[in-house]
Symmetry: D2
């Protein structure tokens, strides 16, 4: 548990600071023989890029990924795939003020407490810029999953108190990317945008919730006891910056349910054992049962806001801060491809682990 590697067979190691030379990663354990679609990988990165809307950071990064190893004639060779994304639009001057003053609810203070030293420029390692590395890893994992017909789609189901109450199964998920805030309901999407304008004007920020849906996962993925599929997916999601909660299937609502309501009856469909309902969200006893996997992730509002706040400095003196720099009014829509990436990495890893479980 070094902090910067995730996975057992299909492993991603992430590196890089917001304002260092580059961020990047190493994918180890990717099966050999996968033909990579580099346009697709770049398009996944573009979904996460800042500067796409009024409500996102104005940092203007090309975010072009360069691959260094593990690929020969566009095909994975089974050796580690290293890649980097150079940091170009770096305005470190913006961050001098936070060198000695801790931004409330930001990671500045805890990094100092942990390491005794901190690259304060742009939040250093704690910046969400790091997640671009994960999106590259997720895009590679998606190549593998596609060969097994597994699809992953995430969307924004809540921003502030604007909620998309419909169940994912009632929604046309193909419309997600049409929404500026990744909400596949045009009406709700517009309300969310209105809310973001309002929050933006008041120099504030706001949180939200993402739903993720994974289809066609075969029954049998996930390990008993500690490495349940729910457990590892929860870890994957809670490793994303600003996430505050995760829930599967009926989630917290299941606490109110009776067994007779929550249980999913087994039925035979197309000569396969399936369930009639899917309150379990595709995972029972920590192992996939072949039904759609779905879960929600809650995100708190971005810590950096452009209002003056009380805080302390590194000399343990009380002071105030009014940060400059470039930040998101709401990071949640940009987190959609990150959620998908972490889900893709997790499912690929479990898929490969399962290969060794039976004779």
């Amino acid at each position: 548990m070094s902090g910067n590697t995730f996975g057992t067979i299909f492993k991603i190691t992430s590196f890089g600071e917001s304002h260092g030379t580059a961020i990047g990663g190493v994918i180890d354990g990717c099966p050999a023989g996968i033909k990579l679609n580099f346009d697709f990988i770049q398009s996944e990165l573009n979904r996460r890029k800042p500067s796409q809307s009024f409500y996102t950071s104005h940092r203007n990064e090309e975010e072009k990924v360069e691959f260094l190893s593990g690929i020969f004639e566009d095909i994975t060779t089974g050796t580690p795939i290293a890649y980097l994304i150079k940091n170009s639009d770096v305005k470190s001057g913006d961050y001098e003020s936070i060198k000695t003053t801790y931004r409330p609810s930001h990671a500045d203070f805890v990094y100092d407490a942990k390491y005794g030293i901190r690259d304060y420029r742009g939040g250093g390692r704690s910046s969400a810029r790091e997640t671009a590395s994960r999106v590259v890893g997720g895009a590679i994992a998606k190549h593998f999953l596609q060969k097994h017909n597994i699809s992953i789609m995430a969307y924004v189901c809540q921003i502030g108190n604007i909620k998309l109450e419909k169940h994912y199964s009632e929604i046309d998920l193909s419309t997600i990317e049409k929404s500026e805030v990744k909400c596949p309901d045009i009406e709700i999407s517009n309300k969310m945008i209105d809310l973001l304008h309002e929050v933006h004007k008041s120099f504030d920020s706001i949180g939200g919730v993402i739903t993720c849906v994974i289809k066609n996962v075969p029954a049998g993925l996930g390990e008993p006891v500690f490495d349940k599929l729910t457990a590892q997916l929860a870890k994957a999601m809670m490793s994303i910056n600003a996430s505050r909660g995760v829930s599967f299937g009926e989630g917290f609502y299941s606490a109110q349910m009776k067994g007779s309501e929550h249980n999913d009856e087994f039925i035979i469909r197309d000569n396969k054992i399936r369930t009639k309902t899917n309150h379990s969200g595709g995972i029972q006893g920590g192992i996939s049962n072949g039904e759609d996997i779905y879960f929600n992730i809650a995100f708190k509002p971005t810590a950096t806001i452009f209002k003056e706040q009380n805080t302390v400095n590194t000399n343990k003196e009380e002071t105030t801060i009014k940060p400059k720099g470039r930040h998101d009014v709401c990071f949640v829509p940009r987190a959609v491809p990150i959620v998908e990436a972490m889900a893709a990495i997790t499912i690929t890893d479990f898929f490969l682990i399962q290969k060794g479980k039976v004779l």
Copy 2:
């Protein structure tokens, strides 16, 4: 990720099936020199034992832990601590009916899908009986934490739609164990018991929510990026049977909040950097900040109910099932010591990991 080991430095490996010879575990990486209080360890196990109330399984297990190694003259030696709990009250005959019929929302089907074979007696490896192993591991971890003044307390804050709405900081946590359902509010506790009677009479089961509070964790625990303290605690909690969601601090409610509401201002208290509020639940950027850590875990209702339900059998034929055996109307109160155990193991591991982080 073999499924049965948790932790990096302080590691627990769990083994055993519900109706096999014994369940047990191995703790590896426990620091040498800790004097163990065996009465305390047994008392922790007793908190989880069935047959304590009308609403729990009537399985009558002594649940006496025997230690096999790693301890010399009552002191840990730094070598692996192995232990076992024999299975005595085993009525495997009760389970013949589930040999070929899948209980809805139980792990029977997915184990068959995963392994092609299953010890069906009492749910085998998927039985919550396995969690007794974790409670022993947690009790050992608590010895370590106590030396560092860290305390962990969990309680039931919801069963069905009966909720304890108060914040943990307004509650006298010393009363938890006085409640038959581990709810430290006598009035709410009584309502919960009434509800359980009702559910019991209707041969049904019901879910609930647990709150866990960890005090005096030093700032700096938790690793950046993938092994955030939130991420690993979430994994720990979601590895507990029937858990369906986990949330930290304001949790899902944080999605509705603005940055100006959610941010915790830093202040100086007792010459230490502290926060004025604690919406973050003691963890910022995935790293502890020295404030109380608190989080909620949602549990679905027990899958086994004593009503007839539609299902299928191993021959892919539709049929019905009306399970016999011994099961909990509500498992949530018994999950309280399990939640504490997994939290204790996780915090101890991060504490030891942190030792190597600075020169």
Copy 3:
């Protein structure tokens, strides 16, 4: 790296002290569906048992293994296989003298240096008794390997200065077990026995060398760079008590060879790519090439001898020691099944890892 677990997919965790309640282990990641032959497992343990000859420890242990979990109707279920071997013939009184006096070249001192506490009875955790756990794990691994036609055989090729100079391919390996010292050449075997009598009479001990041969490993096992098959096998062998060196194929002699002598020409045999010679010992670039894998392991003489030796005590005073207790004149013949066990565990693990490497 907790010290007590070995492997990635097929993992063994070992526990127990020489004079504690029991030693034992947990095998995690064993594929489901393997029918176990318990007589075979016990017969493997019997090969390692003391009290079989004049030159081995007179400790009289039944060494009967009891399985606790992971097996249902004699078949592995994919869940952890826990087992224990009770310590019965425990004469701790014999060891009171070593409580405060460090035996030269024994692990007493370093355990104190490491942990600040030590179970001194019979060497505690550092006793070779621990290796019985590995033999059980190896016996289970051999079930898996047998299904893939892979065989592992080890024999003693040197004790003191008595050497079996023949190459393994010139020897009838089926005669190994007929030799009291596990040397498959009757003449050399007798000379070794003579030497052991001599050493025994002089209250001394002596070292030796084991050769291990693994047949029918498919090409492609072993990971590039750090986890080469040579590297992991070397670790496996050097983890055995008293081992001091390991070498593959031509081993240290290869340092004297020229490329034109050492290189193994590729040829086509039975329509397969094979090598004409096998100086490489079946492993090239850290990966198996389908030829026989063979390697040697050197063992130093048993540290405990029944002569008076100078040493120091725990008070840092110089003193002498003349140990009592029960010890081997030469441990090397008893190490043969341990070498095979560690090889079996290693090859099984790599076999399972390889399953996830290609699409």
Copy 4:
């Protein structure tokens, strides 16, 4: 065991192919607060560089390391240190002939067997060029070790049949780098150079042996049972290209010794518990005892020679090969800094692991 990562707390992940864009690595778990000396790091790399002598490959690489992350104002921050070394002098045309023909004793065939695909240019991932990444990691580890006064020095003690018979303790190790072949005895060094000229003229290659000495390791490093210091160092050494054997202290000679000869008596020196002799090579029971650690590593001759050899091609046809390209007559002197690097990484990791072992 992904193959490309080594270590538990102090971890190195290596990536890159001989003729790809770059090779490089990621160091995770390096303690924060270490001021790096970049000139030293580059000087370590220079010790491994080709084109330094007639007997090494004529590949002309600048081998300049670029750091991408984990360092702020020349000080380690505790976050992952990523770095790369660009491949500049790439003559892939030289390698077209080996695209379809397997070089005897090279890794070409086994990579195809393992992955079904291979970057054949310059040996791809199996090239010793990869080891430059390790030298960077080792140089960083040496910064840590230096703070604890631990030194690591390796030298060539044998090339072909020319051996430096003296014990390391009789040699002036400060002269190692003065020898073109890293042998700290001018006479033997000259004989080795003569031998290399001879081998060079006959278009052949030759093997050798390296001795490594580690001073001032505190007693107590190394884990019991599987992760003995000997075991992990053996793995580290056997992970180096072309290594064929490793031995500690008296090594294979210890097999001929009696206990009374091999045992190291404990004495009191400077009020510390020390040993009178050091046959054990500083490691007893797998744990350091405070004495000098020393061990030997055997290397086979470079597989690529400029003579015609019989082999087969990817179509399973017998053919001949006479490789072009740039290769070492003897790689052993260039392996000296690699041996030191792997030793430094291993000792640093065990040092950090030990921090969590006692209260």
